[in-house]
Symmetry: C2
Subunit: 250 residues, 2 copies
DNA sequence: CGCGAACTTGATATTTGTCAACTAAGGTGG
DNA sequence: CCACCTTAGTTGACAAATATCAAGTTCGCG
């Protein structure tokens, strides 16, 4: 199976074969983490950077009143905490949604990359910055869309993201979340998730069973949720004008 | 008046006098931009990085149905589009909330900093990463708090952020937004903003008049909104244990 | 086979949105 | 300096979206 990290980072920089070989060795030696465990917690100052290679994890915070907000999904190819090298301590938690394979990469290895491997470094910053773009889109999603569109938008995003790392086919992907997880992601209750899902099913938009989500009509779901993937910045670099001022492709 | 950029970046790295002098010259020559103008738009590939030195701007997106979501406030010391160097094109718009002084910094100057000024580079990445942390907190805010707490939380955040750049006193700051701007920030309607504000006023928490927001009881407002500033990562570095002398990425 | 977690359903409550009318304030031209 | 006009904010009545509570139901797993 192709390496999700490499598949992803190809979008952020023009990697060489040497870069790919290095990333391949970097992302080997994953350890299994059980479902519903924390990978890191708020306040931690981890020595290693964590990279998801299989399964799902998520960023989340819990408020004093016990309410939980999931702020990002970490799927294969995603780094959990690249930023910790600079920020010092985690300002949120990361937990596994399901069984998950994670590689621990010592910070000094990351630092070494930063000094001697400019394309990989660039690709990692590209990855951090697209995470930020995704966060902005989630904010739009929560602020301006009602629950049904918001959920549909999330499904569209996940389809595209998982396709780029080889973890989704044309119209479906493994979706190992509970409805409660989904509720805490969208900022609604799990009761409402259940009802909205039934509506999406009734409209013939999605099927969700056996931990797999199938989108029955992808263009329709994208239109329904006004999904515009620009924020994912997924155009392969080699397909783009290299320097500034060029007309946008697409 | 002290330079907001320097005041801010001191939190992200241990700057030298030389660094400060460089930042000082970098942030001079601001041009005035009128209120309610766009600084950059989605799809742009700007040649310059923009730095706010006075006034307020905000990041926003507009959906096909006309709804607007404000995703960040840019106050003195904030960069508008540091990420564009890597992502290539803007995935959102930036507009002025009020008259605003902005410095245009050529991308090549930023690149040069990245090569020869490691502390400044580190501080700029710190700034980008705290922006991301702020975004995460806004997501929590929108997803899990009701409108009154959410608004209170925003006020607390702004007080702290503006204090660090010398733009707020102990309990108040210039707040040049309309209630509609605030509504599009919190993901509620302007009618609801009006009502929530009256409630906060009635509870003796805030006064907002003449474009100035005054928090009558700061600890009370922080408790009310369960404001926890860890996500702003504002501890001056010299007050923290300095761990590894790792080089910045890039 | 039975237990518990996840999901569903129905009734009702709360929060927030919508619409429309009204008031206040600031700017402009006469 | 006043009349007017526009924009921002306020208010009330009502509607829609979503939350809450409580009671089922289903299903995987020991």
């Amino acid at each position: 199976m192709a390496n999700p990290l490499i598949l992803k980072l190809e979008h952020g920089a023009d990697l060489t074969d040497e870069d790919r070989a290095l990333l391949q060795s970097l992302s080997s030696g994953a350890r299994q983490i059980q479902a519903h465990r924390d990978v890191i917690d708020e306040g931690d100052r981890p020595e290693n950077v964590h990279l998801v290679m299989e399964g799902w994890a998520y960023r989340y915070k819990v408020l004093p009143n016990g309410k939980r907000q999931i702020m990002a999904f970490l799927v294969p190819g995603d780094f959990c905490d690249l930023h910790v090298a600079i920020l010092g301590e985690m300002d949120h938690n990361i937990g596994t949604a399901w069984g998950c394979k994670v590689v621990d990469i010592p910070r000094k290895v990351i630092d070494e990359l930063g000094q001697n491997h400019p394309r990989i470094t660039r690709a990692m910053w590209w990855s951090t910055l697209t995470d930020e773009g995704t966060l902005r889109e989630w904010l739009v999603n929560m602020g301006q869309r009602q629950a049904d569109r918001q959920m549909a938008h999330l499904f569209c995003e996940l389809l595209v993201r998982l396709q780029t790392v080889g973890c989704a086919d044309e119209d479906s992907f493994e979706f190992p979340l509970s409805q409660t997880d989904l509720a805490d992601t969208l900022g609604i209750t799990s009761v409402h998730v259940s009802r909205v899902l039934q509506e999406l099913r009734a409209q013939g938009l999605v099927i969700w069973q056996d931990k797999r989500l199938r989108i029955l009509d992808v263009p329709k779901l994208k239109a329904f949720s006004s999904f515009e993937p620009r924020y994912l910045h997924l155009n392969k670099r080699r397909n783009r004008g290299i320097s500034h001022g060029n007309a946008p492709l697409r």
